[in-house]
């Protein structure tokens, strides 16, 4: 177990600034998920931590030891690759024991550790097979097994589930979570899938364009996104953004978008007076749009026309046209809304997000 620390890390490939001033601390035993769209630098960050890539500037610490100049083999880390990277000419057992054999572990110890890992991952019956005889899910288990036998200080996962089908991905997600609970080792996990990030991480780091946009617990990231990028990246369906002007009317604050007036209580936007007359962006998650007539804020309800209704099994996505160019999405479990009908809705004022349109930063 160990702490991981990035201090002012910069990485430049040719003329490309891939990582810009990354400062990040992953605590002992923490499951840190780095999430972001492709090309955001998350895999580079992981490869730098593994030692497979040099840093241009900055320092990396594992267990308080500066590892900038330490080769991957001496960093006491284990990595699970996106494409599994199993050695094709070795059996599962040989694959798993490769690192231990390299370190001249006694035979009994190797056997014990391989069996232990195989037990945890339920691959004991596959130990004598070759990688090509395994299914995708089994290969991924072997790749994880190869990491476990090492008893490393830090586990690194590079999009390990992205090559699996949806059902298997779900299974493996739970498996990895269980593994973390059992081993309590520091894990750094890279993914572009925000659902994976939300479900696995005890800490989420959202990255974009080589910069950390926000870090925090999954709930913090979901409930209080610090900028428009994080707000739109985390959560499905995506958060709705409504641009409008703030006005004060009879001591009440409203956001005016076209002819629609969205009431914004002062407790959810304490700085409202500073923005009086200015444009802001209101963010509201589809789950926070109230369509249920019994719960609606009747006084400030907004009427609009339903455009499309999308049935998703346990719930529906209702697309509501609030102006000619703007459609927002709401979710409901009531199944009584038909397309092309007039409805009324209000917002869940506790979960309103307001952003500055210029800086795109959160202002409430």
């Amino acid at each position: 177990m160990a702490e991981v620390k990035f201090v002012n890390v910069k990485k430049i490939f040719g003329d490309n600034l891939v990582l810009n001033n990354i400062n990040l601390e992953v605590k002992n035993g923490e499951f840190c998920v780095i999430v972001g769209p492709s090309g955001c630098g998350k895999t580079t960050l992981l490869r730098i931590l593994a030692g497979l890539e040099d840093v241009t500037e900055g320092e990396i610490y594992i267990d308080n030891v500066l590892v900038n100049n330490i080769p991957p083999s001496k960093r006491e880390i284990a990595m699970v690759f996106q494409d599994y990277a199993l050695y094709p000419h070795m059996t599962v057992k040989e694959n798993m024991s490769f690192s231990l054999r390299l370190r001249n572990f006694p035979k009994e110890e190797i056997k014990k550790r391989v069996n232990e890992a195989a037990e945890i991952l339920q691959i004991k019956h596959l130990l004598d097979r070759m990688p090509k005889q395994l299914s995708g899910g089994q290969r991924q288990r072997v790749a994880i097994g190869r990491a476990i036998v090492r008893h490393p200080k830090v586990f690194l996962f590079d999009e390990p589930l992205s090559n699996l089908d949806a059902k298997l991905r779900e299974e493996m997600r739970i498996e990895i979570l269980r593994l973390h609970q059992k081993l309590q080792t520091t894990m750094v996990y890279v993914t572009h899938d925000q659902i994976e990030a939300m479900t696995l991480g005890s800490k989420i780091v959202v990255m974009n364009k080589g910069v950390i946009q926000q870090e925090g617990t999954p709930i913090e990231i979901y409930k209080k996104p610090q900028n428009i990028f994080v707000a739109s990246f985390i959560g499905t369906p995506t958060m709705n953004f409504i641009k409008g002007k703030i006005i004060l009317e009879n001591d009440k604050t409203f956001l005016i978008h076209k002819e629609k007036k969205f009431f914004i209580p002062s407790y959810s936007f304490p700085d409202y007076s500073k923005y009086n007359g200015k444009e802001v962006i209101l963010g509201i998650r589809p789950d926070d749009i109230i369509l249920d007539e019994s719960k609606i804020d009747k006084e400030n309800a907004i009427s609009a026309r339903v455009d499309v209704v999308e049935l998703l099994g346990p719930r529906e996505n209702v697309y509501i046209k609030i102006s000619d160019e703007k459609t927002i999405c709401a979710t409901t479990h009531s199944f009584n809304i038909a397309p092309h009908t007039e409805i009324k809705f209000s917002l869940n004022y506790l979960n309103i997000h307001i952003f500055d349109p210029e800086t795109e930063k959160r202002i409430n």
Binding site: G51, S73, F81, A85, Y87, F98, K132, R139
Partner: protein, 276 residues
């Protein structure tokens, strides 16, 4: 059903014709090699001639340096092939995995050397070997052959390494190996198909080579078999029986090596290592 049967018959017919065309000369040479001396230039087409005898074979071994020629050829060929594969495997790895100054140009130069006809290289090769004082030596021949076969082997191996995912070496490095160990333990075992192709190419090239050998070797005792067989061709009389017997014997090593290495020539060894 009927259509596929006709197709199969036609296909087999075609294959049989191809087999006959390719094996017929070999069979004829064999039949010449076992003809008795007085019937060497007969027009008889029977495979086993009347009065068949292995006298030509016995004479070949007894009256010429044939065993020595074969031995010379084997030493030169095996050394060339091994040196070629060892050097090419590491050179190709650098070309495949590292970015360095002159990498691209280097690859093109290697390719360019393959476009120069062998005849053009004979004089410079001869001068080079002579300056090194290696005329009429094994080493001189091995250097001359390696120089001409290395570029091809490097290209073949480089192409093959390019198809092996980098993540395999990275996994090995994270597992505790250094780059040389990862190359030796992971990349080389996976490259056996390409290594055997390079080895076979070097082997057949060096085994059958005549022109360079003609220039570098002058002592009949240090001849390779290609030069040796031509020794049998006199100004007034050519000993066709021994010539044919020699030709049959020299196919055996190549045949054995092809048969042995055919099992390494299977591709798809990397199947299952990474998602594909």
């Amino acid at each position: 059903m009927k259509k596929s049967k006709i197709k199969s018959i036609l296909l087999h017919l075609l294959l049989i014709i191809a087999v006959v065309i390719t094996t017929y000369p070999l069979i004829r040479i064999f039949s010449v090699s076992i003809r008795p001396g007085d019937r060497i230039i007969s027009t008889d087409l029977s495979i086993i001639p009347k009065g068949a005898t292995f006298l030509s074979y016995i004479k070949l071994f007894k009256e010429t340096y044939f065993i020595k020629w074969i031995f010379n050829s084997l030493i030169i060929t095996l050394s060339t092939s091994l040196i070629g594969v060892i050097l090419a495997s590491s050179a190709a790895y650098s070309f495949s995995r590292y970015k360095f100054f002159g990498r691209k140009i280097g690859l093109y130069i290697l390719l360019f050397t393959q476009m120069v006809p062998a005849g053009m290289l004979i004089l410079p090769l001869y001068l080079m070997i002579m300056k090194l004082n290696l005329i009429n030596t094994y080493l001189g021949m091995i250097i001359a052959y390696s120089v001409s076969s290395l570029p091809f082997s490097i290209w073949i191996l480089k192409g093959y390494y390019d198809t092996i995912p980098r993540s395999l070496e990275e996994a090995a490095m994270v597992d505790g190996a250094n780059e040389i160990y990862a190359f030796y333990k992971i990349i080389l075992p996976l490259s056996t198909p390409a290594l055997s192709i390079a080895f076979l190419f070097n082997f057949t090239m060096a085994w059958n080579e005549y022109l360079v050998a003609r220039v570098i070797l002058y002592n009949p005792k240090s001849y390779t078999w290609t030069l040796g067989l031509f020794e049998l061709q006199g100004q007034f009389i050519t000993q066709w029986g021994m010539f044919a017997a020699g030709s049959i014997i020299i196919t055996i090593p190549v045949l054995l090596i092809f048969l042995y290495s055919s099992k390494w020539l299977v591709s798809g060894l990397t199947l299952g290592s990474v998602k594909g």
